[in-house]
Point group: C2
Chain length 384, copies 2
């Protein structure tokens, strides 16, 4: 096992009606930025619950944070925070809104050019505190310090992370996910699944508990994910998906083990250049990445297939092939297509993707830093 | 799944040499109470590392916290804190020392009779902050707010719990456990195992992720525990046991599910009256409690046997019998005897135990509150 430091500062308020618990977690002098997305929260009752929560609290609204939130939109929210001297952000939505809140929280206090926080890893030492009300289980953003923002002007999708912008609380009410479009449910399950894979499917370091936890999340997503599509109002199913997605990326399972993240990095370019949903990019890249990296990941691929998909017959290579196929089938079963051609992308587009990877310095990806541009091209070509 | 709130405020500093990370976590104006037990830390080098950590920091030592720490000893430490106006406790040891630190931390700031915190659940609103250096993986006390203290004068072993006394950091260096007596290693593994069982072996509430996590810890303890006895210097084995014991009782796996704790409550009387090690009491009580409660715990007993011990053949009742036997065998394999007679206790002693349960109000134990004194007597009698 590798050395690690671990603390998770987010208080989880989980379950039906738990938003009422959030009231006492707001600062006494709170001047709140209520940040949300496209307005679905006004149709499903979440907005009403939030406004009730903010009864007697000073707040300003900023709507319109888009999926894959952009620098250009978020900077408008930064201006609002500065103009109204707001001191707390309540992010209501999925990972995009919460990621956006983290950028706004840091940028509002930042002296220089805020994009430098992502583009150059510029350090920042303070941010507005954030509370989250989660409506889409997927990214784990509600209880980690990570954020991904897209710069529309430069077609760059970049990440930053800091404890300083990690939410102080997160309301996880499964009922808030009942009305989600099934496409978003499927995307969310795939996203959470791949988060686990990035922290699990590397090489063994004799950390069996981390392996068991990762496998437990994968098994739960495999059993509950499809039910979330067929019985959308089943509270327990939604609760299990929601808790799995949070545990997938709250930092715990990745402690003491190597991590990969190449699928995410390659996938980011698919979103930045062609606007694919984040989960779609992961569903495209992961299977062929597993295929190309089957040597480096051999032992964990076998363990993954045997323990998670119960694949035990055949030679080791056959088990690995079946495991990759099972992963792909699971994504398709969740309604997320796994080939570039499913999204009308072709060989010529791979040149652009590889060029973008090069431009962003993504030339040594994966747990061994051995996924260079040649391998990335191979992974993408196999996914045509 | 049940509603829950969850946050764990303890920063884990895990791995070889991680004590050096603790320096920056001490308050700048720290006046430290260095609290430890019987002096083993002076023989195994931990004391030297701690003194190095405290270089330049004002501190006082209090040694002699016993296993099953007593009110009488701890009140001496409280006096030292008050006399020297100390403001931070560094607890170096296992669960007894850390449990003791929690009591000292709360009692030193408490206006009334400190034993009331345990005996009457008296509320307290402040405590000295605590840092822990763990030398014995077992109780999980290093990252929770729970404490158990024994009053020698009244033969009462009672618990209290509060976030206020939860350690702010915990150093978990597996090397610090290399020199543990094997008896303590075995006890620790059994203790952690039963902590998981108390939060897992109840009735299903459709919380599959919590089940998988619990099973993952149990599987890890079953695979690594025996190796910790046969190859005491194996770093990874010790690391895996240590991380499992912490995860067993840091609050996570019990969130959203029913909990039992009857084995602990009955076991506490065995320690209070006859001085048995905590783990010995759990190893005695759990198997026969499982037998007596096999109706109420039927579904989870089957799942436990099938998933954790891979017992699949036979009728359901045969699977349950084999599962109870496998649990008992595991405890014995870890060197912890499972019958009252192994500790020279006999039928007449059960009367005293039942009387003590009654005196302490332990008359409706378990996840259904259905373990009354008659059932407790039955559980103990079967364990003769």
């Amino acid at each position: 096992m590798l050395n690690f430091n671990f603390k998770n500062q987010t208080e989880i308020l989980f379950g039906k009606g738990q938003i009422k618990e959030a009231k006492s977690r707001l600062p006494k002098d709170a001047k709140v930025l209520l940040l949300y997305g496209g307005g679905s929260i006004k149709r499903n009752g979440v907005y009403d619950d939030v406004v009730k929560l903010l009864d007697g609290v000073s707040f300003e609204e900023f709507a319109g944070v888009e999926p894959n939130p952009t620098l250009q939109t978020l900077m408008q929210a930064v201006e609002l925070v500065r103009a109204k001297q707001l001191n707390f952000i309540l992010a209501v939505g999925g990972g995009s809104v919460i990621d956006g809140a983290k950028f706004v929280a840091a940028a509002a206090h930042f002296d220089g050019e805020p994009w430098d926080i992502l583009a150059k890893g510029a350090a920042f030492s303070s941010a507005l505190p954030i509370g989250a009300v989660l409506t889409l289980p997927a990214t784990g953003s509600e209880s980690n310090g990570n954020s991904v923002v897209t710069n529309k002007d430069t077609a760059q999708k970049r990440a930053f992370g800091s404890d300083i912008v990690q939410p102080v609380f997160a309301v996880l009410d499964p009922v808030y996910t009942f009305s989600l479009p099934l496409k978003q449910v499927g995307n969310g399950v795939v996203d959470a699944f791949v988060h686990v894979i990035e922290q699990y499917l590397t090489y063994p370091v004799n950390a069996p508990l981390q392996d068991r936890f990762a496998e437990g999340i994968l098994q739960t997503l495999i059993s509950e994910g499809p039910k979330a599509l067929t019985t959308p109002q089943d509270y327990d199913v939604r609760a299990n998906v929601m808790w799995s997605a949070t545990m997938a990326l709250n930092g715990l399972i990745g402690k003491g083990v190597p991590q990969d993240w190449a699928t995410h990095m390659i996938g980011h370019e698919l979103t930045a250049l062609f606007g694919l949903d984040h989960a779609q990019t992961l569903a495209i890249v992961l299977p062929t990445l597993m295929y190309v990296q089957r040597g480096q990941k051999r032992q964990k691929l076998l363990q993954f297939g045997q323990r998670v998909f119960n694949i035990s017959s055949g030679t080791e290579d056959e088990i690995i092939d079946k495991t990759i196929k099972a992963t792909q089938d699971f994504f398709e079963h969740m309604g997320v297509k796994t080939r570039l051609s499913d999204y009308n992308l072709a060989a010529a587009d791979i040149d652009k993707l590889v060029a973008n990877l090069e431009r962003n310095g993504m030339t040594a990806l994966g747990e061994h830093s051995d996924i260079d541009l040649t391998k990335a091209r191979q992974i993408l070509t196999l996914a045509l």
